[in-house]
Symmetry: C3
Subunit: 427 residues, 3 copies
């Protein structure tokens, strides 16, 4: 439970808000590279942190990210012509390069110097791991891209996916760090029909212990969140999730299985865009890895390929099937992600949940720790302290872990026993 002030502080990310400014210290995934498939292709609209933007890939293949409206008289650059090294407004022909410089102003006399006074807001971009990243903060302190493993391995080791979700970003991040709900929301009644990729979770869901004990450590990139369940008389089943500032998570899989990354990026305070990534450190994804993903029963929601809107939505009650709920799984909804979206989009009736009404227990330790981590960060930041995490690009070289371990091992020992920390292994 939070106070209303705390809830607002964490949830509001528009221009000028404390959390909005904090987000603007980090590189954020904003689109898939394949949305801009080639030089001079059509521009793409987006809204990030309550700012209306337009992305385009110029003639040289570089991605520009500009404020969406022409500074002349506000025409939408979505209608713009993307050609010969810039995006040209269709209203009066003003043309901008990827840095926001006005490189042509054909409706004014050739000798006119007005053009040099115009500068459209533009944000630096990078591409890595099949994703377009943007940095929307002060240029003078722009950090390096975080060295997430999936941005470093060959591209054929990686599957990336985007979806819109109609709730505040934090509801999604809270779901990611909450191992506790897996025993319920994602419980499967027919494990033999379940696909291999989430076998561990099925195992877990079947486990008798639905009340995990949480052990959490603060780290230089965010949090290590260990959820420990009784496995047998001698062993525990551990799920160790990584939270990476400002809104990323690494979700554990069994050793050797593909690993999952997620990012929750605010569109505005009531909407978010979610990126999910699956990768294998050691080999390309095989056809059956991909067909498993595209069965949409796991961490991926099926989306409309043009709009990235989930097929199962609030408007259709997330395709809840009551007969399926009786006989096949806990919710009567198809996939893990689709189940998550269903609950996250309607907590206490709103896209922004009212955390003053909550009743939290010991199983919410992951969620509570996450909020405290974020509140500390944003309050330090309000008092003038720049967040340290963006300067730690290499610290993001970590992995999550799911494993069975003897009961006498501490969280640290479990972490050491796995190849959890890439900083200690070779990537």
């Amino acid at each position: 439970m939070l106070s209303q002030e705390e809830n607002d502080l964490l949830c509001c990310t528009g221009p000028g808000t404390p959390m909005g400014n904090l987000f603007r210290r980090f590189w954020l995934p904003v689109a898939l590279s394949r949305e801009l498939p080639k030089p001079d292709c059509p521009p793409v609209r987006m809204r990030i942190l309550s700012e209306d933007l337009i992305a385009f890939r110029n003639t040289n293949g570089k991605v520009g990210l500009l404020s969406r409206y022409c500074p002349h008289r506000g025409a939408s650059l979505f209608f713009g012509r993307n050609e010969e090294g810039g995006l040209r407004c269709v209203y009066h022909g003003w043309k901008f390069d990827t840095t926001g410089v006005c490189i042509d102003m054909p409706n004014e006399p050739a000798e006119c110097s007005f053009k040099h006074k115009i500068r459209q807001t533009a944000y630096p971009t990078r591409e890595a791991g099949g994703v377009i990243w943007a940095y929307m903060g002060p240029q003078e302190i722009m950090p390096e891209l975080p060295e997430l493993e999936w941005t470093l391995v060959p591209q054929n080791h990686v599957y990336v996916h985007k979806r819109f979700q109609h709730c505040n970003y934090l509801q999604n991040v809270e779901g990611e760090v909450d191992s506790s709900h897996v025993s319920f929301l994602h419980r499967e009644f027919r494990p033999e029909k379940f696909n291999a990729a989430i076998a561990g979770q099925v195992l877990l869901a079947q486990a008798k212990d639905t009340a995990p004990k949480f052990l959490v450590q603060e780290t230089e990139y965010g949090l290590t969140i260990g959820a420990r369940r009784n496995w047998d008389a001698d062993q525990y089943y551990w799920r160790v999730t990584k939270f990476l500032m400002p809104s990323f998570t690494l979700i554990p899989s069994e050793a050797g299985s593909p690993i999952n990354f997620t990012a929750a990026v605010p569109v505005d305070d009531k909407n978010m865009v979610g990126f999910t990534v699956t990768w294998l450190p050691d080999r390309p994804l095989a056809d059956n890895d991909i067909s498993t993903i595209e069965s949409w029963t796991g961490a991926y929601a099926e989306v409309d390929p043009k709009t990235f809107e989930p097929i199962a939505s609030r408007a259709n009650d997330h395709l809840l099937d009551r007969e399926k709920q009786r006989t096949e799984n806990f919710t009567g909804m198809r996939g893990i992600r689709e189940q998550d979206i269903a609950v996250q989009e309607d907590q206490f009736g709103g896209p922004v949940t009212d955390r003053t009404k909550e009743h939290l227990g010991t199983s919410d330790t992951g969620v509570i720790t996450l909020r405290r981590r974020l509140l500390n960060s944003v309050r330090n930041f309000q008092q003038g302290q720049e967040p340290p995490e963006p300067r730690k690009a290499t610290a993001y070289r970590v992995r999550p872990i799911a494993d069975i371990a003897y009961r006498n091992l501490s969280l640290d020992e479990v972490l050491d026993s796995g190849d959890l920390d890439l900083a200690r292994s070779e990537v």
Copy 2:
């Protein structure tokens, strides 16, 4: 015409409002029993008096009515599993019985006492006459169910129906007590094609006297509203409508014809759910009684059987047919209820009509008296006086009447001549 303050006082029924609190002293129809057809069937969402609720029928057949969002972290109980004596949240498995007690909390350690501190808001329910009733007020003063005749006769004497209507509840109640509009809004140009059930109204519509004189009496349950029209040199045609607190009406039919009850229950200030009931005191409804009802030409609007939304709606201009309006009836719309909905949903442009703009005449005496009755009730209530009507369960044993009577009879004598007051007859 009301002042803005008076209009707000009557129309606003959310939690904490004076009228909202007054409504919460009464048992209210909230759903049809058949919406929860059997034990452990899917739960049903509803919104009543601006509160989001979930109704479910438990394993024993008892109906629970809870606040819709789980007190843990706000997941919607609409997604819940209804099984083994309670409704279980799919997010973390918390389970509630019909009284709001948390009877299982499987995500916390078994020894944990947290569960005993949790109590979900729950409202008592009853079932009578095919309707689920709820009481949303203080438990210590919970009254008996009102003894409406249709809740006491055998179920096969009764037809019950529900519809949503997109306006404030009061616009609908005003229509019910306003006999005057029947001569216009419901006028039929081809009485021979009109069905028998509303023959009296047709008779009336054909009558020369379109300016009824209203005689109103205050009663212990609400109001008796007599509308008297000239019939011939010696007789009057009387329509005596009953208004029953807080928002129920009994609409007259000719002696021996089925009788109609209506209730207008606020969903929120801009929407309502309407219940219409037809019953026969003395015999089961026959097939042709039901086919008359289901011709949707009378007091019943055709609705989508899943959503209870009227087929004729504001979006399709209530299926107004201008040719039909020229040749068949006054509005060009099919049924009496559909005609009522059309005008009620758009009075002075809004779902909440602006009563400061009205110009009322003598024909509005029924409406004026209704408002005064409600204003007196809510003002007394604001000054600490509990409404007396909920304590008068037996006083609701009344009927309306439509009849022709000699001109020398007073309203009281007309009432005595009919079997209007069930308290004086045997039920």
Copy 3:
């Protein structure tokens, strides 16, 4: 660029606003005559200057324009019966004539005088040029209809058309007086495929000079806005647009081609209704003139014939075709009007553009002058000075011009050389 105060002053036209009151000093087009095709036909809803209205043509063919809601209890007169010299409310039968007088009140006793106290708001109307005009201001200063040429020539010389547009009226008027954007937004890559009616604009679009010089004169009806481009060593190409208070324009065509009029009438602050008129002074429109218009490639947007909503809309990205944009024209959208609507409905993200964010150059002289003219008018009006333009009906007898002229001619001489000013020629 305007201050926020100036922007609000120009854009807000509801009842009681300064600009709203100024608009109410002028006759305004509000509907097409053919929307009320015959006596006693169905009434038509409209919203003008944020007022909800109902128009009807009575038994004698006269058009009434009333407030939409019955003064009795607010039922919508849209449902009304239009018959025998008036519009009758279906709720209780009150009937109004075109002047708002209540001519029948059948729900009250015949002897009752209440009817004489009721007066529905009614606005005078006129019909001219196939358009219904309304005057919504003080009766005692009602002016004559402006003597626009197309309202004076035979009806078969004229084509009139209506569309809704979802932006503030001023965005549309600014587009009309801005000759500069024609070189871009309306540029055609295949002039040979372009139809004759806009050959001049094609010529222009092809012209090397995309940076016209603006010369503007204030006139008694509004503004003369000359846009002068280099044509060859000796000559200029002139486009002289007329702005007529409060929101009308005359758009130039080559001599002998049909002439275009437009009006932007506020529905409310975020929506407008646009009227476009094409006429020939000297002969009826031929079939090919009309088929040119109805190719919807020029100043006319294709609309749904029932709703007058453009087929190309914000919801479908104005049917933007990126391949067409690459090979056929500048925008990838079909027609000139459709291109205009696309940019006007989304300036700085809103239906009301934020003019504080603009960067205006010399090519915006037309727009700047228009705003200054309107600001002066409304500020004088705020200080008690009635606008002079409505009293100048004959001053509206003007034409626009597009022509090539020797460089030594001034704007005045160009105007004299053309038959621009009807006041100097015979109509």
